[in-house]
Each structure stands twice: as structure tokens, then as C-alpha cells.
């Protein structure tokens, strides 16, 4: 079953989206990838509302969440999910351009599972995406419930 659990990628920047998708494809993960372009879509996707109403009734294996997003920002999305008893188990990896200590600590304080400052070097970036996805999807599936 776990193979079919989706990865939700929340990213508003088209270029970042394309690069991240390229990385995820390169590792040929079997998990389907669902893309949300802002904070509201991210929540719609998790709760299967609106455009995402018809997706399979399955919580994602991991959510890769950008910090700065239109409508609701990444921290808002995380706060809502982590305060929902039914959804707080969904692992959230923050992907952010910000290395500000306040952003990082706030993210962990709210229950974020990892925080990645998007590295400049693409190879570093792909290695990180791979490592985190691998960790949360393959090795840590038990905790995912």
C-alpha cells in the first residue's frame, strides 16, 4: 500500500517546481506526486476538497512544503495540519530559501519534521530531496501510520 501513497509537493515557483519534480523523477519513486501551488491548495489536497476531492482517500507519505507561499504561507499550513489530530502524523519537510534562524526554529517548534535551506548547488539539492523522501517514505513508514 505504501507504494501508492502520494507525495504532496507544495511549491509556487514554476522553476523550483520543475527542478524538484526532475529530482523526484530521477529517483523513480513509485509514489504519485501531487502538486499544490499555494497554501490553500495544500490543505485542499490533504483534506480532499475542491480540485482534490476526487483523489484517492489516502494521506500522503510526506509533504514537501515551501515556506513562502501565496494565500496561506508554509508555516500557516503546518500549524493547521499539526493541530489536527487526524493529520498531525503526516511528515512535513520544509523547503525554504530562508536560512533565518527565526524561521527554522519556528518551523521545528510547530512540529515540522525537517527543515531544508534550498542549497545553491543542484547536486546537493537532489541528494537532500532523495535522502528526505527516502527516509520518510521507505524507512519511516511505520511511524507514518
Amino acid at each position: 500500500m505504501s507504494e501508492t501513497r502520494p507525495i504532496i509537493l507544495v511549491e509556487d515557483d514554476a522553476r523550483d517546481l520543475e527542478l524538484t519534480l526532475a529530482v523526484l523523477e530521477r529517483y523513480s519513486l513509485h509514489n504519485p506526486i501531487i502538486v499544490a501551488r499555494d497554501g490553500v491548495e495544500a490543505l485542499d489536497c490533504v483534506y480532499r476538497r475542491n480540485a482534490f476531492a476526487s483523489r484517492a482517500p489516502m494521506d500522503p507519505a510526506v509533504m514537501l512544503l515551501d515556506l513562502k507561499l501565496p494565500k496561506l504561507n508554509g508555516l500557516d499550513v503546518m500549524r493547521i495540519l499539526k493541530s489536527d489530530h487526524a493529520k498531525r502524523h503526516i511528515p512535513i519537510v520544509m523547503l525554504s530559501a530562508s536560512g533565518e534562524a527565526s524561521d527554522i526554529s519556528e518551523s521545528y517548534r510547530m512540529g515540522g519534521n525537517a527543515y531544508v535551506v534550498k542549497p545553491l548547488d543542484f547536486q546537493d539539492f537532489s541528494r537532500m530531496i532523495h535522502d528526505f523522501s527516502d527516509f520518510w517514505i521507505v524507512h519511516n513508514r511505520a511511524s507514518g501510520g
Binding site: 527542478l19 526532475a22 513562502k68 534550498k118 543542484f122
Partner: protein
């Protein structure tokens, strides 16, 4: 303290000398009802004096002035509103000078026998004119005093005439003395304040001339003794015949004086001095001559007043010039003590002081001769505990504050201005002790004698022979101009302190805004500027993967795109770290420098790979600081050493440290490319590079960041180098001062 037994003094000061109930016998007094002009009170000698029965219930219309009844003249005078009535009247064949003034107790008429006086050459008018000519050009107070004494001596013919000046403590000193025998018996001697009690001083201001024709006179009582109008003693403050205190008569007799006359010198309503005349025999002075003497006193006092004011104005001007100069320093300085340090001699001059101290919120700065700084702070607390005073001055500090006796040599005089309403903050000027010998006219003491006698009788001293007194723990007195200038200065200083505080507050607010803007700027840079570089690098990589068989040139182009974007991205990252450092709080903890250096070297493994480096780690004493920041600083320095020694094989890098007086000093030394010391000033600036980017890569921020880290710790960093002979970077962290560095 100077002065006699206080009890005796008090007794003397309580004596109601303005209403003695007696007159001197050289004249007669009639008191008339203001309306009926009927006599209500008369001196007991009236009938004998006038040769005519006059007394209570009689009318005063037996006197005529130029054939007009006195009563008629008096009514005209009363209607005219003049203070004094003066006239020459006849009763039968006798001529009398009459002087009258009205009080609530009636019209007091004082009569003296009018003697035929020899006409004086030129008359009073001429004499005054000449006196003015004499004193006009004199600017020395003592010279004016001498001229005054000489003039009065000529006018009244007394044996001895002295001009006497009161000091601020009420004692008087003889400035000038003219005597028939040429002997100056009292010149420069001092008379204690108690010689002329307070109520006598007030009388001297109200009534500018007093004559005692014979100290052995028999006082003449009034009949009835109390005023029938109000049942009280008759107030004779403005009278000329008023009988004087028996203590005063005894005082004069002890001095060997038979007749005495005093002319008041009043300046601005204050008794400045007296012209005192003594005669060895009884002596009568006519009202006309007395008027001339009184006028002389007024002219002289007026002249002295002008001179004093001119001298004070000149002094004030000089002080104000210095004050202006000091205010300029103040305006240019950031701190008050900075301004004082700039020109201490001017600060001392402004108050004519030997030392000056500033106590500002507990911190003491001092210049010149002052008490020790901790004593200045204690003095500040003492001043603060006193009732609210903006200016405090004393020429005998130890009298008010006994512990000041310990440093009375430097600071017997204190002039202090308060410069804060919130704190014990003062500017204090100090004057050294001036040991003086005061020459008194007799040991100043009065005594209460007659053991058990009620009321006790007061007796003045018997001897007026010079008595020397040594005065210690006393400075030269502060002059009014100096005190006033300190007061004016206080306003300026407070104004400046407030203005500076306002400016600082304004700057702090502006700085805060700038910081906030910078923070939001940094944040958007991190997000927006960095992203395009990541994209360039990412897509270049994807392109390279997609086109597996690129020729060498295309591959080089693609690598160059990646390298350039990487370099630009690192630059953004470094700039962000640099700006973040300004805002971040330091997390201070004990630091094991040896361990930190080993960690840094491990993280540099990549750069060290394939290099022939002789790495020498010396003694590295522990210190305190922010571990993450110090790691960053060390990383930058060691990374530089590795980088710039690239051309050496083997390269030599030394990292060591030592402790000097608690400060930890560390070095990173390499034998690399070095640099020309003439560029050393640019070394730690942002974007300053001393080598071409082609030769040694880098963003040009590393050393600026390192310097900022060390300075945030309260330390300092420096570099020494020679081209091609390597460089030495030394940084120093303060001892234990880091507790409050955050």
C-alpha cells in the same frame, strides 16, 4: 565659630531699641494728636527745655514760624504728604530746630535749640560738589572710603572718623580711619556681627544718621510713658533724639568714647557699611551739619554702589566669555566630561576654583585639586539629601559636612550645581583652604553678668585691643558673580544634556527603523535574489544531463554558467550572514579553542586534500564567546591561510595562542602570498580584495565578517604581512567582559 556666647547675643538682639521709652536730653519731644494737634505725650524735660509749661493736654500753637502758628504749618505739611517736617520755630525769644514725622501714634515733634552757627565757606552745596569731584574718578572702594571719612571728619569735627564695611557674615572691618591725632587705632580691625544686632541694622537702614552727644547723658522719660492712643511704647525708629541701649553706651564708654555719630551707607536697600564718628568729649552737632553728613553718606554709598556694580559687571563679562567658550566645547563634545577634559583650565577659571569634578550618574571625573573621587561621590549623595537647591556654595564645607575636614586642604570651599533632577549629578568646584589671621577689635564676646539677677544684665567687652584669630578650613568666599555665572551655566549644561539625550533618542529611533528595513531587505534578498542563481545552476545541470554528448567547448560554457551562478549565490549567502551578525544575540559560553580549531580543520578537509601543508597547532588557551560565531571566524582565517599558501610546497600554517593579563590572544600564521601592508587598512572592509579574483577565489566578505565577529565579542583583530612572505592574523578577546556582550 566666631562670636560670643549665643545667649548673651540673643538677649541683645531682643532688646526693643526702637521704643526705648526715653530720649536723649539735648532736645525735647512733643507728640501731637494728628487731628486736634493737642499734645498727647511729651518728654519729661519739656517745660524746663522750652521755659514754658508744655505737656499733655496743651496745644502746640505757642510756636511760630515766620509769624505763622506751628499748628497751621503742620496742617499744611500733613496735607502735602511729605515724610518729614523740618522748620525753625520761635517760642518767645528762643529759636528751635524742629523735625517732625507722623506715625499711627501721632505726630512726633523733636526740638533742639538753634545755636548761632558760623557760616561755612561756600555752604553745603559747594562742599557736596567738591566731594563728588574727589570721588568721581576713584575706582578703588578703599579710596572712596577714605575720602568719605575725611569729608565727614571735616564736616562734624569729631576726633576719629572711620568708614566701616560689613562682610557677608555681618562682621565689619574698618576700611578707612581719619583721626585728629593721626593715629589709626582701629584701621583694618574687625568688629563682630554681634556688635550691631539685627534690629539695630534695620534701624540704620530706616534712619540714616544717629547722634549720641554724650554717652553719660541722663535719659529723659516720656510723660505719660505709654502712648495714650494705643497704650504701647512710643515707636521712635525715625526719631533723632531716641535714647540708645545702655549696652551700647557701655560699649562706647569701654572704647573711651564720649560722643558718637553714625552715618549709614545703604546700597540697594542693604546696609553696606557705616561712617562711624567718635569724639573724646561730649559733642553736639547741629541738624544742618547732620543733614550734610547724611547727604555725604548717600552720595558716597551711591558712588560705591556704582563701582561695585561696574566691577561685578566686568567680572561677569570675563566669566561669560569663558562660559561661552566652554559652551562651544560642550556643543562639540558628546559627553560632559569630554568637554571638561578638553579645557579644564577654563572650567576652573569660570568659578575661580582650584579643582573641578563632574559627578554624572555615579561616575566621577575630576580635574585639578579635588577630594578623592570616592569622596566626591559621597559628597554628591550628601548634596542630594539636602533640600532642593540648584546651586550650593560654602567657603567652609567642613562646617556643614564634617567629614569634609579630611580634605579641607584641597576643598574648604565648594560651589556645586545640580545638573539632573533624577540623579545625584553635579558639577562641583573646589577652593583650597586659605589660612587667615583675622584681627579683631577686642576679643569678641559679650557676657551676661550679675549671676541670678533677673532680668540678667548684658555687658559688652571692656577691651578693644587687637585680638588675633586664626581661621582654618575656610576658603576664599565665592563672589556673587561667580555664583551667578554657575547658575547661568547650569541652565546651559542642562539644556545641552537634554538636547543631546533627545538627539540620541531620535538617532536610536531612526536606527531602529533602518535596522527593521534592513532586516526585511535581507529577508527578501535571501528569498528572491538567491532563487534565480539556484535555478540557473539547476537547469544548467539538467541540460548537461540531457545532452549527454556535449563537445568540450559546450561543456566548458555550461560549467562556467554553473560556476558563475554558484559564486554569485555564495556572495548573497555571505552578505546575509554578515547582516545577520549585526542583529544576532551572542550566545556566550566557555570555549575550548583547541577543540574548535580541530573541528574547523575537519570541515576544511576538502580544501586540504592534495595539499602539502605543515600544519602546526600550538597552545590554545580556553576563552569565552559564541561558539558558532568564533568557529566561523576561525574558519575564515584558516581557510584564508590555506587558500593563500596554495603556491607553497610545503605550505606552513601555525595556529596558536596565549593569555596576557586575562585577555586571550590567538594567531593564524601562514607563509603564503601575503600582502602589501600599505593596503592593510582595506583588508577588513566589505568587498575589499587585495588579490585578483582569478588568482584566489572568494567573495571579499570573509575578513569583514571575521572582524565583525571579533568586535561583537569586544575584541580586536589585526594583520601583519609582507608580499610573498606570508601573513599573520592576530585576534584578541577580552577577559571575562563577555558576560554583558550579548
Amino acid at each position: 565659630m566666631i562670636g560670643p556666647d549665643a545667649t548673651a547675643n540673643d538677649l541683645c538682639a531682643r532688646e526693643p531699641i526702637h521704643q526705648p521709652g526715653f530720649i536723649q536730653p539735648h532736645g525735647a519731644l512733643l507728640v501731637l494728636d494728628r487731628n486736634s494737634l493737642e499734645i498727647v505725650q511729651a518728654s519729661a524735660n519739656a517745660t524746663a527745655f522750652f521755659g514754658y509749661e508744655l505737656g499733655r493736654g496743651k496745644q502746640a500753637d505757642v510756636f511760630f514760624s515766620e509769624n505763622i502758628p506751628l499748628s497751621s504749618r503742620l496742617r499744611d505739611w500733613l496735607a502735602g504728604g511729605e515724610l518729614f517736617y523740618r522748620d525753625l520755630v520761635f517760642l518767645a525769644d528762643h529759636r528751635f530746630h524742629v523735625s517732625g514725622h507722623a506715625t499711627a501714634q501721632g505726630i512726633l515733634l523733636e526740638f533742639e535749640v538753634a545755636l548761632a552757627e558760623p557760616p561755612r565757606s561756600g555752604g553745603l552745596h559747594h562742599r557736596l560738589h567738591r566731594l563728588l569731584d574727589v570721588i568721581e574718578p576713584l575706582d578703588n572702594i578703599t579710596h572712596i572710603a577714605e575720602a568719605a571719612a575725611a569729608e565727614v571728619a571735616t564736616l562734624c569735627g569729631f576726633d576719629r572718623v572711620m568708614t566701616y564695611r560689613f562682610a557677608e557674615d555681618g562682621s565689619g572691618v574698618v576700611l578707612a580711619e581719619v583721626s585728629a591725632d593721626g593715629e589709626r587705632r582701629y584701621f583694618d580691625l574687625r568688629f563682630p556681627a554681634s556688635d550691631i544686632p539685627a534690629q539695630a541694622r534695620r534701624l540704620y537702614v530706616a534712619n540714616r544718621l544717629r547722634l549720641i552727644t554724650d554717652v553719660d547723658y541722663r535719659p529723659v522719660p516720656l510723660d505719660p510713658p505709654l502712648s495714650p492712643l494705643d497704650g504701647r511704647e512710643l515707636d521712635m525708629s525715625l526719631g533723632a533724639l531716641r535714647s540708645v541701649s545702655p549696652v551700647h553706651l557701655e560699649y562706647l564708654r569701654n572704647m573711651g568714647v564720649r560722643a558718637s555719630m553714625s552715618v549709614s551707607l545703604v546700597i540697594d536697600g542693604e546696609l553696606w557699611g557705616l561712617i562711624a564718628c567718635h569724639h573724646d568729649e561730649p559733642r553736639m552737632i547741629s541738624p544742618r551739619v547732620r543733614a550734610a553728613c547724611e547727604m555725604t553718606g548717600r552720595v558716597v554709598a551711591q558712588r560705591i554702589g556704582v563701582r561695585l556694580r561696574m566691577a561685578e559687571a566686568a567680572e561677569r563679562l570675563a566669566l561669560s566669555r569663558t562660559g561661552t567658550r566652554l559652551l562651544t566645547y560642550l556643543a562639540r563634545s558628546e559627553t560632559l566630561d569630554g568637554a571638561l577634559g578638553h579645557s579644564p583650565e577654563a572650567w576652573l577659571h569660570i568659578a575661580g576654583a582650584g579643582g573641578c569634578a563632574v559627578l554624572l550618574q555615579g561616575a566621577v571625573q575630576s580635574w585639578g585639586e579635588t577630594p578623592p573621587r570616592e569622596e566626591v561621590a559621597i559628597l554628591g549623595q550628601w548634596l542630594r539629601a539636602r533640600p532642593v537647591d540648584t546651586v550650593y556654595e560654602t567657603d567652609c564645607l567642613s562646617a556643614a559636612f564634617p567629614s569634609a575636614a579630611a580634605y579641607s586642604g584641597h576643598a574648604s570651599g565648594l560651589l556645586a550645581i545640580s545638573i539632573s533632577q533624577l540623579h545625584a549629578s553635579y558639577i562641583m568646584w573646589f577652593r583650597p583652604e586659605v589660612e587667615r589671621t583675622l584681627r579683631w577689635a577686642g576679643e569678641p564676646s559679650k557676657s551676661v553678668e550679675g549671676g541670678g539677677e533677673i532680668p540678667p544684665t548684658l555687658h559688652p567687652r571692656h577691651s578693644f585691643a587687637e585680638w588675633r584669630q586664626k581661621v582654618a578650613q575656610r576658603s576664599a568666599p565665592w563672589r556673587t558673580a561667580e555664583i551667578e555665572s554657575a547658575r547661568e551655566f547650569r541652565h546651559a549644561v542642562i539644556g545641552l544634556v537634554l538636547r543631546q539625550a533627545e538627539t540620541r533618542a531620535g538617532m536610536a529611533a531612526a536606527l531602529e527603523r533602518t535596522n527593521a528595513e534592513l532586516e526585511s531587505f535581507s529577508y527578501s534578498v535571501s528569498h528572491d535574489l538567491r532563487a534565480p542563481f539556484r535555478h540557473i545552476i539547476g537547469f544548467a545541470e539538467l541540460l548537461g544531463q540531457r545532452e549527454g554528448k556535449l563537445d568540450a567547448t559546450s561543456r566548458r560554457y555550461l560549467d562556467t554558467i554553473t560556476d558563475s551562478a554558484l559564486a554569485a549565490g555564495h556572495l548573497v549567502d555571505d552578505l546575509l550572514s554578515f547582516s545577520r551578525l549585526g542583529r544576532a544575540q551572542l550566545a556566550v559560553s566557555p570555549i575550548d579553542m583547541g577543540k574548535l580549531v580541530r573541528e574547523v580543520l575537519r570541515s576544511l578537509e576538502g580544501a586540504l586534500k592534495g595539499r602539502d601543508i605543515n600544519m602546526e597547532i600550538g597552545d590554545l588557551p580556553p576563552t569565552f564567546g559564541d561558539a558558532a560565531l568564533l568557529r566561523q571566524a576561525l574558519l575564515n582565517l584558516i581557510d584564508n591561510a590555506v587558500k593563500y599558501s596554495r603556491g607553497r610546497s610545503p605550505a606552513h600554517i601555525l595556529i596558536d595562542g596565549k593569555t596576557v593579563e586575562g585577555r586571550a590572544i590567538y594567531r593564524v600564521v601562514d607563509n603564503g602570498a601575503g600582502f602589501d601592508m600599505s593596503y592593510a587598512g582595506k583588508l577588513f572592509g566589505v568587498f575589499q580584495r587585495l588579490h585578483g579574483a582569478e588568482q584566489f577565489e572568494g567573495t571579499g566578505i570573509g575578513l569583514a565578517l571575521t572582524k565583525r565577529i571579533i568586535e561583537r565579542h569586544g575584541g580586536k583583530i589585526s594583520a601583519a604581512a609582507r608580499p610573498d612572505e606570508g601573513a599573520t592574523f592576530t585576534f584578541e578577546l577580552p577577559a571575562g567582559a563577555l558576560g554583558n556582550a550579548a
